[in-house]
């Protein structure tokens, strides 16, 4: 279907609205393996390329719960089992005193899972990616808006897909080497 050394076709657009419109049209046309690149987050763009939800909130919830439980169990085990110490006649398992550390551990667990979960789901760090082979792609971090239809898409055809992208109002369409 496609030559192995082509990653896809990259179209450049002038502004965020054109990019979103183009992504909608491409998705409507039946393309599924594509990604859009922009220098700022665009509210509706991920939905336009057909990506809806992320599991990240669930990961953060689990991270927070695990952190909190670990913090509480650590304190209970240290204070009531491993090293019971009578402080002013308080019970060994004096749970109200364990709340601040439990709270901090919950926060720590949730924050670590938010950051590392986001990086892991995004597949970062990733030093090499074929899109960086496009010379104008350096503008994706300044003022450029790009849509890339990937060669592994079932509908991908070098000449027909290029013609399609040109109808979307792209200022430039480039073949991305793999």
């Amino acid at each position: 279907m496609h030559s192995p050394d082509v990653y896809g076709l990259m179209a450049e657009f002038a502004d965020p609205n054109e990019l979103v419109a183009a992504a909608h049209r491409a998705h409507h046309e039946g393309y599924r393996r594509m990604d859009a690149y922009s220098p700022l987050p665009i509210e509706e763009l991920h939905e336009a390329i057909g990506f809806h939800n992320t599991r990240l909130p669930l990961i953060v919830l689990i991270g927070g719960i695990v952190g909190g439980l670990a913090g509480y169990l650590l304190q209970w085990w240290a204070s009531a089992v491993a090293y019971p110490l009578n402080v002013g006649g308080k019970p060994f398992h004096s749970w109200p005193a364990f709340i601040p550390v439990t709270f901090e551990c919950t926060i720590l667990g949730a924050a670590l899972s938010a950051v590392f979960g986001m990086l892991a789901l995004n597949g970062l760090p990733q030093p090499y990616h074929p899109v960086f082979n496009v010379p104008r792609f350096t503008l994706a971090s300044r003022s450029g808006f790009f849509l890339c239809i990937e060669a592994r898409d079932g509908k991908f055809d070098l000449s027909r897909t290029r013609a399609f992208l040109e109808t979307l109002g792209a200022t430039e369409v480039t073949t991305v080497a793999d």
């Binding site: 502004d15 304190q75 720590l108 979960g117 971090s141």
Partner: protein, 462 residues
């Protein structure tokens, strides 16, 4: 966002306040170029070298002071029974408090959709990290044997002992280390897209390699942005209760003890308000010269300075309420020791410091009621210094005046700072400024990608 447009428009045109949060006429390209040029292409101003060298010299003083302390022991400080906590803990609380404005600006104002925060949040977060680093030095070296500081952490050891989890000092270890970690993560996550911008725009190979490695291969993919924004919002939601908890736990260090002047329930809210008060004062102290030196008046507008002044006015009033309640309860509670404590603050040997504190924190800041003051850059700068001094005096008063008159007159004492108390304190100010100078030189001090989202272009209005 259900309907962000009217709000954005109002903020961009500045309706209601007269001054916009970003000057008109900017585009995605111009915002990117202007901010990244500070790091990549513009000549480093001579003022940067002078400032950096001064700060580095003070950091040298810090290294000398800490080395001498390690050799000689904490006897080189003026602390002694009954005043076992003095400059060290005063400075610790002062620095931690300063850090709070950074998290407040980056997390709480994000949740409240205050888009004006965008041009100051990166800088304020960096300030938080530097302040927490300075704060950490004090309790660490106050242990006297900083190389054994890991004993504070719970880990299985051959001594068979564990930390005392009923002690607020152990809570503090967890609160401050969690705060430092989460602040670092929040700051770094915010930096990643801007590091990609620097990677793509750097002219030098070294720059491309270093910024490229730090940018983790960020390429602005729509799927990545979606997860990124989710993570950022969740982090803001997590950091909000965290920032409130940190100074609450710091106040527990005092409030849980039975010392008159410390043992009071007003401490947690009053400490949190004081932290935000001093933090905003420090943001003003730093941002006013920076916007002048780097010509960033387009991005850090009078609107920002005025909003920060308003936050200071409100938190200053909460702090004033705290002082009032402290004095009222000391009288109304009828406890002889508590009553003596407040009377001793007002008329005792440290009375000048107490009156200076009221002058700096309560009386002078009332000029912020006037709009002409809130929009006068020079007056705001001077006032921010006054509040910084006032908040330092507050912690000094709370710690030293409460300790120096013990329950029995036979245990009374006085505290006088030594040269090494002063040099360590000045040294941390040097370290703080040196780290900030490095940050301003090598990283974008305004969040570039968030500034892009504020432009009319981002909403499709060319």
């Amino acid at each position: 966002m259900d309907n962000p447009m009217p709000l954005e428009e109002r903020q961009l045109t500045g309706a209601g306040s007269g001054v916009p949060v970003i000057a008109p006429g900017h585009t995605f390209g111009s915002v990117t170029d202007k901010i990244s040029a500070i790091v990549l292409t513009r000549r480093t101003p001579i003022g940067w070298y002078l400032g950096f060298m001064t700060a580095a010299a003070l950091t040298g003083l810090l290294l000398v002071s800490l080395s001498y302390l390690v050799v000689e022991g904490i006897g080189i400080w003026g602390n002694n029974i009954p005043v076992a906590w003095a400059f060290d803990i005063t400075n610790f609380v002062w620095w931690i408090g300063i850090g709070h404005a950074g998290t407040l600006i980056s997390a709480i104002l994000l949740l409240l959709r205050q888009t004006w925060r965008t041009s100051i949040n990166r800088f304020a977060e960096a300030m938080t990290l530097c302040a927490v680093a300075c704060a950490g030095i004090f309790p660490l070296f106050h242990t006297g044997r900083p190389w054994l500081a890991y004993w504070l952490l719970p880990y299985p050891n051959t001594m068979g002992i564990w930390p005392q989890f009923r002690s607020p000092l152990v809570w503090d270890v967890f609160a401050v280390s969690t705060y430092a970690t989460v602040s670092l993560l929040f700051w770094f996550v915010g930096l990643v897209p801007d590091l990609a911008t620097l990677r793509d725009r750097s002219q030098s190979r070294t720059g491309r390699i270093i910024y490229g490695a730090l940018a983790l291969g960020w390429r602005g993919s729509a799927m990545h942005w979606h997860r990124y924004e989710t993570a950022y919002l969740l982090l803001a939601g997590i950091a909000t209760p965290l920032v409130v908890s940190v100074h609450t736990v710091v106040s527990f260090d005092f409030a849980v003890a039975i010392v008159p002047g410390w043992h009071t329930t007003i401490f947690p809210p009053y400490f949190v308000a004081g932290a935000i008060y001093s933090g905003f004062a420090m943001v003003l102290t730093l941002s006013i010269p920076i916007r002048a030196i780097y010509g960033l008046q387009d991005f850090i507008t009078l609107r920002h300075l005025e909003n920060m002044a308003k936050v200071m006015l409100v938190t200053g009033l909460i702090v004033a309420y705290g002082y009032t309640v402290e004095a009222f309860i000391a009288w109304y509670g009828g406890n002889a020791y508590e009553g003596f404590m407040i009377w001793n603050r007002i008329t005792g040997p440290y009375a000048p410091a107490y009156w200076a504190l009221l002058l700096c924190n309560v009386i002078i800041p009332q000029i912020l009621w006037f709009k002409s003051v809130r929009t006068n850059v020079i007056v705001l700068f001077v006032l921010s210094l006054v509040v910084n001094v006032g908040m330092w005096l507050e912690r000094f008063i709370i710690i030293v005046t409460s300790l120096h008159r013990d329950f029995l007159p036979s245990s009374w004492g006085m505290y006088q700072p030594t040269f090494w108390d002063w040099s360590t304190y000045l040294g941390t100010i040097g370290l703080f400024l040196m780290l900030l100078f490095l940050f301003v030189r090598f990283l974008p001090l305004i969040s570039i990608f968030e500034m892009r989202t504020l432009l009319p272009e981002a909403k499709g209005e060319q």
